[in-house]
Every structure is written in C-alpha cells, then in structure tokens.
Symmetry: C2
Subunit: 205 residues, 2 copies
C-alpha cells in the first residue's frame, strides 16, 4: 500500500481520535471532519473505519518489531540485550505515542481477519523475541532460572509502566523510565538477596 | 447510607455494566433494564448515573484501605509488610473484581465533588500507606535507598500486573500472582547483583 501524504494524514488524525475515544464512539463522519474532508472524499481513501484502525495497528506492531530487532541485533549479553530491548521499545513509544496508544488499547476492536491476522503474527513475533532473550539469559545463568515466566511477564508489563509514568512534558525521557524499570526488575529493590535471607533463616534454626 | 438489598443489587449490576462499557455508553435505562426495574423505580433509588458510579468507586477505595490496613497492622519488618500489603491488595481484588475494575478504569468519570473528594482522599491515604512502608524500608536498610521513587512506582504498578495476568479460571490465585510480583520487584530476575557487576568492571580496568 502506498503511503501518500493524504492517506498518512488521515491515519494520524484517526489515530488521535481512536487514542482518546472509545472505538465505537468515533465515526467516519468524525474522522472526515477532523481531517477537513467531506465524508464522500474520505470514503475514496478508506472503505471502512476498521480498515483505518487496522492500518494503524498493523503498521505500529510491524514497525515496532523492526525497530527493536535492529536495536538488539548486535548485543550479545542477554542482560544488556534485555536493557537494549526495553530502551528501544521506549524510544519507539516516545516517537509514535499516539499510534502506540492505539495499538495498546484498541487491538481488540480490530476484528477483520485480513488486517488482524498479520497484526497477531507480529505480536507473536514480538513475544518470541522476548522469550528468546530470556531463554538465552536463563541458559547462560544471567537470569534466574527458577521463574522464567515471571521474567517474561516482567518484560511484557514494561509497556504498561511506560504508559503509566511517561509525561511528554516531564523530566524523564521514555528511555530513562525504561532504564529505571529494567533496574527494578533485574536487580530488585531489596538490599538483601533472596538467598541471603534463606541462608540466615536456615542458620537460625 | 443504608445498604439495603435492592440498592446493593443495583450497585452490583451497574458495576458490571461500567466495568465492560464506556461510562458514557451506559444509560439509566440500561441499568434499570439490567436490574429488572422500571426507569421510574430506579430513579427512586438513585437520582443520577454518577451517584451510582460514585458509590461504587468510593465504597471500593474506602473498603480497600480498611482491608489492607488490617492486613499489615501487625507486620513489623518492612519487607514482609510490603508482601503483606501486596497480598491483601490481591485478596481484595479477587473478592471484589468487578467493583475493583470500575475503580481502576472509571475513576475519572466521577466528576461530582461530593463523592469524588472523599474518594480522592482515600486514594491519597492508600498512596501514603505505600510511601510509609517504603520510607520505613529505606530507613532500616531493607529497601535500596538510591531509588525510593522506583519502589513507590513498583508498588503502585502492582494492580496493573494483577489485572493483566489474573484469570478467574486460571491456575493462580490472585495472591500467588502478587507474591510472584513481589519476588520480581524485591529481588529482581538477574542472578548477579548490580554491585557485583560494578565491582567486576572496576577490577577489570
């Protein structure tokens, strides 16, 4: 599909509406009005509202995958690879916040298979990237082998942390927030280690 | 306000609607129909939709505070206090999932001050409870003093982790999920400590 300026503008304007309003509450009339087109002209570009949503969602998850893959490609150590992953995710989030917001919150409004199916494949690919980093980290003794699922969950939850704490006018860039998060989930906030507590408890008996 | 059976039923049914649908998309007619009342009868119980929302939100945040306060009251060690806090939050979430969902997602639809103001006070109280646990933990050397704000964020984010991973028909109880989360944020998923990496880097120079 060719990305012409007008098509791109429609997608951007529609994304801004989808990010703020319930999907059902946004009409093609609303989108046309926000872009400054007649409804008839809008229909020349896109047949249905769901096609617009689909291109936003699919475009974002596909480009996010490419962006993150490029960022982690040269990083061998799994711990550093994880940090690189989280930072890249944060950078992409910051640069494409509206589209990212739509991806995060409106994915399930996309029901039509032609666009939903590839979007789901990209989402699976993203989760496989995460699983790969963690598997390598567990196999090389960098990550705790006892709870690989916790690690996967911690990484998958990172976007919620970003979305919750990021302020465009705030003191922290998105990657600062991502680094803070990586620090918490990698090293924890407790001073004493889990093993140290168990060892002390054993010796006290 | 007396909680009579019919008022309670209306609140429960309305909560189920508010949890699933956009607030603006739920009408008093919808609520009346779902309870099996005429709209006129519903208006005898509640004057406006926002009053219903207000009682759900305020009741939940108030009772959640009381529940958690009772659970942590006898726990001295800040690390254990934090775990007790997260487990109590999880228990309450599991027992009152629909109302909790409304609290999490529809708080900002509550604009009328009479109900919003006390709800905000209870929310501030909740955050103060968290801040108190963390302050005690930092002062006693249990939590990392370098990043107290990260710790606060980690605790505030715990509800999102619960909401994201909890399945009522799943293998984990809510408090299992909370314990898993506590383990990640307290001790991290990396095998080597932050200090150990820095020390090795220093000795390698």
């Amino acid at each position: 599909m060719h990305r012409t300026p007008r098509r791109e503008e429609i997608l951007d304007v529609a994304a801004a509406l989808f990010a703020v309003h319930d999907f059902d509450a946004v009409s093609m009339t609303d989108i046309a009005g926000a872009v400054g087109l007649s409804k008839a002209t809008l229909y020349h570009y896109f047949r249905r509202k769901e096609d617009i949503l689909g291109l936003i969602v699919l475009g974002t998850i596909r480009d996010l995958n490419a962006f993150v893959d490029a960022a982690i490609a040269g990083v061998a150590d799994p711990g550093q690879r994880l940090v690189a992953f989280l930072e890249a995710q944060a950078d992409y989030f910051e640069q494409h916040r509206t589209w990212f917001q739509v991806l995060l919150t409106r994915f399930n409004n996309l029901t039509e298979p032609t666009l939903r199916d590839p979007a789901i494949e990209w989402r699976v690919n993203y989760e496989n990237t995460i699983q790969g980093i963690i598997r390598d980290g567990v196999n090389t003794g960098v990550f705790n082998a006892e709870r690989p699922n916790s690690v996967v969950r911690a990484v998958l939850a990172s976007v919620y942390w970003l979305a919750r704490w990021y302020r465009p006018d705030g003191p922290q860039r998105a990657r600062d927030i991502a680094r803070e998060y990586a620090d918490v989930v990698l090293y924890g906030v407790a001073v004493r280690r889990r093993n140290a507590r168990t060892a002390r408890a054993r010796s006290a008996r």
